[in-house]
């Protein structure tokens, strides 16, 4: 078996087992959507392991569960006012963050001695969010100046830890480290390794002070966001 097949096969096995860590899982699922061979490996592992399900005893769920499921599929979009208000608040925060980011980008370009910012089709942005859907970091890539700016808009790094930034997706086999991030960072977009920018998802993991000692995320991945073209 060739090395890459071996890697694919055993990684798919760990995906089905559920033992990939959060960043690996995100990266794997991104590849899975467009890699037919990988889908076949996942299906093969499910077939191999599903006989074990016969060993699992059945358990009766609470009686009202199905009514709750029906209520959820009957209201595809949350329509209650509280939920709407929450969403509006989040969008306001996101919009404020975008505005702040845009302002800082323009300042950055001016400082660089560039008279006008790049056309919009050279700009990519990402809002990194956690499970509470609050923006934690915003990122922008300017292809023309080959720069990437990432700025924290959410909670500060917890004491005794560092936040580390990673690039996922594209043809990357594993999360690619981009460095420890404090309030903001600026790196060359060359560090994205020539991957298509809109195939890239940025992620921030919680690491020991100074960053991951292994070159791969060791702590939970707290925030993720996909880079999208502004035009």
């Amino acid at each position: 078996m060739a090395g890459t097949d071996f890697e694919k096969m055993s990684e798919a096995g760990e995906y089905v087992l559920g033992t990939l860590d959060a960043a690996e899982r995100i990266a794997f699922e991104a590849r899975l959507t467009r890699d037919g061979e990988l889908q076949a490996e996942v299906a093969a592992w499910r077939r191999r392991l599903t006989p074990l399900d016969a060993e699992t005893a059945e358990a009766e769920p609470p009686a009202q569960t199905f009514a709750k499921i029906l209520a959820r599929i009957d209201t595809p979009a949350p329509v209650n006012v509280v939920e709407l208000q929450r969403r509006v608040r989040q969008w306001r925060i996101a919009a404020t963050a975008f505005a702040a980011l845009a302002a800082s980008l323009i300042l950055f370009f001016v400082v660089q001695g560039q008279r006008t910012p790049s056309p919009a089709n050279n700009l990519y942005v990402a809002v990194l969010q956690g499970s509470d859907a609050q923006p934690a970091f915003v990122a922008a890539v300017d292809v023309k100046t080959k720069s990437m700016v990432v700025r924290r808009v959410g909670a500060a790094t917890p004491p005794g830890h560092s936040y580390e930034l990673w690039a996922l997706g594209g043809t990357r086999a594993a999360p690619q480290p981009l460095g420890v991030i404090g309030a903001s960072m600026r790196v060359s977009s060359d560090q994205l390794g020539g991957q298509p920018i809109d195939a890239t998802t940025l992620a921030v993991s919680l690491e020991p002070p100074g960053g991951s000692p292994t070159g791969a995320p060791t702590g939970p991945v707290l925030f993720t966001g996909k880079l999208i073209a502004t035009q």
């Binding site: 071996f6 096969m9 055993s10 096995g13 760990e14 089905v16 087992l17 559920g18 033992t19 860590d21 959060a22 889908q39 076949a40 299906a43 592992w45 499910r46 077939r47 191999r48 392991l49 599903t50 006989p51 074990l52 399900d53 016969a54 060993e55 699992t56 005893a57 059945e58 358990a59 009766e60 769920p61 609470p62 569960t65 199905f66 709750k68 499921i69 029906l70 959820r72 599929i73 499970s131 292994t214 060791t218 939970p220």
Partner: protein, 184 residues
């Protein structure tokens, strides 16, 4: 598995569910809920989380039924994969909320390896191949599959570094595939 959960029936019901048929979905739920809840309860000890995972699983089964491909897996295998994903997701999120050292390492009783007369041939092969794995490979695979153990939890339980756990898991999976392929 319940005798009522006949594979062809489930496939038909899932196909009708994909067309938006509520009655079929309701029947599908009745036939599969106990199995899926059993799978989820082994991963999520907390009852409220288990019920949340079950709800989320069936919402996804409803909305993704069109994507079910019967050439890839039986209807039950497909639904169990969704339930395990939901349960493991919720388990990881719950673990993140508590300190890493407070991860509940409940005393899990591993499945006894003895065979039963009514075991499927596939299950007998799988049990034998699992039994041949070196370095706690069998227990690690079973704890991950049945109870949603992460590498970190396996590391704590077997007192091995996380990187070693990953290596053992990968080696075990390769050996398992080779052993199972050799039997077909």
């Amino acid at each position: 598995m319940a005798a009522s959960a006949d594979s062809a029936v489930l496939t038909t019901l899932l196909g009708q569910t994909a067309q938006g048929d509520r009655a079929a979905f309701s029947e599908l739920y009745e036939l599969t809920k106990a199995k899926l809840f059993g799978v989820i309860r082994r991963i999520l000890i907390r009852g409220d989380l288990a019920e949340e995972a079950l709800q989320e699983s069936y919402v996804r089964i409803w909305s993704n039924a069109q994507r079910y491909d019967q050439s890839q897996a039986s209807a039950m295998t497909w639904m169990i994969a969704i339930a395990r994903n939901q349960a493991i997701d919720l388990k990881r999120k719950a673990n993140e909320r508590v300190a890493a050292n407070a991860v509940a390492l409940e005393d899990v009783t591993l499945v006894a390896p003895q065979a039963n007369a009514d075991d499927s041939a596939d299950l007998r092969s799988l049990r034998e191949c699992l039994g041949g794995l070196a370095e706690n490979g069998r227990d690690m695979v079973l704890l991950a599959y049945h109870h949603g153990y992460s590498r970190e939890e396996l590391s704590a339980r077997f007192n091995r570094p996380v990187a070693t756990v990953k290596t053992i898991l990968r080696r075990s999976l390769v050996a398992l595939k080779e052993c199972l392929d050799g039997r077909h």
